[in-house]
């Protein structure tokens, strides 16, 4: 389908490129979505003092490893952005796929963790702590998957040298997903 971007897209009255500005607004709207869920969780957590006992059944090791994986993948995507702005396409492409690999490892660890917990009888329905746990980490996992898909699409463009700024935009999104995890980690894994 032939589609030519309108001139409006190229304008920049704020001096921030349109794509990046829109990415920031996406991040803002995501902050309130995740934030709403986390705020509800915190209120319940403060009310139900006995949830600490449930939280002790989550695996700190797995959570910590996943935090490390996400931090490292954040490093890769920012290196991809650095390479893309230096127009080193091969390097940028490689780093994007390293990031996607990080996302894969994250999801694999996550699924092992979930399997382990479910097989110990801690399911979505065990109590509200576990409901929050699965819903929040599940929503986060969906964001990880979405980010990986978008990155794979962008990497095709990078190979051809097109739409290089998009590497930066997906980077901002990926760092945001990383930051969400940085807060989910103490909330669900450390605070016992």
């Amino acid at each position: 389908m032939a589609f030519t971007a309108p001139l409006a897209t190229a304008r920049s009255a704020t001096d921030i490129p349109t794509g990046r500005l829109a990415t920031w607004w996406v991040v803002v709207s995501e902050i309130v979505i995740f934030g709403g869920l986390v705020v509800c969780y915190i209120m319940f957590r403060l009310h139900h003092t006995d949830w600490a006992e449930h939280a002790s059944h989550t695996s700190t090791t797995a959570g910590a490893f996943n935090t490390f994986v996400l931090l490292t993948s954040s490093l890769f995507i920012v290196l991809a952005h650095q390479a893309a702005s230096a127009r080193d396409l091969k390097k940028a492409f490689r780093y994007i796929w390293f990031t996607i690999g990080g996302g894969c490892i994250f999801l694999v660890v996550k699924s092992i963790e979930w399997t382990n917990e479910i097989s110990h009888g801690y399911t979505l329905f065990t109590n509200n702590f576990w409901s929050f746990y699965y819903v929040t980490t599940g929503l986060h996992g969906l964001h990880v998957i979405a980010g990986m898909v978008i990155m794979a699409i962008i990497s095709i463009g990078v190979k051809k040298g097109e739409h290089l700024p998009r590497v930066e935009y997906i980077g901002i999104y990926w760092h945001f997903v990383d930051i969400v995890w940085l807060f989910l980690f103490p909330l669900f894994y450390i605070a016992k």
Binding site: M43, H48, L71, T72, N127, H175, F183
Partner: protein, 114 residues
């Protein structure tokens, strides 16, 4: 299109982040709740700020992007302070709403969960 800017040493930042992660895991081992809160949540804030500033380039981004993000956080704080008096309230003049686990514990002396 991409505006050029200087790139800091990302690997150094990543190393600091990893170190902070290590601290936040070790923190709870001291077994003091106040220390845990600081090492867990304080460090999460520090890490988030570092990722935001250096990886998301907020340190060189226009100032009002900060404002955008903070406004969203302030509204969440507002929601928390408006709602928590109700959600955290366990009893009123004519009613009691204990958490079910507590009620459960009162009836059969604290049954074990699974």
């Amino acid at each position: 299109m991409s505006q050029e800017h200087a790139h800091p040493n990302y690997i150094k930042i990543w190393a600091i982040l990893t170190f902070l992660l290590f601290v936040s895991i070790v923190g709870p081992m001291a077994g003091i709740q106040a220390v845990t809160l600081i090492t867990a949540f304080g460090i999460a804030v520090v890490k988030a700020a570092m990722v935001g500033a250096y990886f998301m380039h907020l340190n060189i981004e226009k100032r009002y992007v900060w404002y955008m993000l903070f406004t969203a956080l302030i509204f969440l704080g507002l929601f928390f302070f408006g709602t928590s008096p109700d959600v955290l309230k366990a009893e009123g003049t004519n009613w009691v709403n204990p958490s079910p686990e507590q009620a459960h514990a009162e009836t059969d002396g604290g049954g074990s969960h699974h």
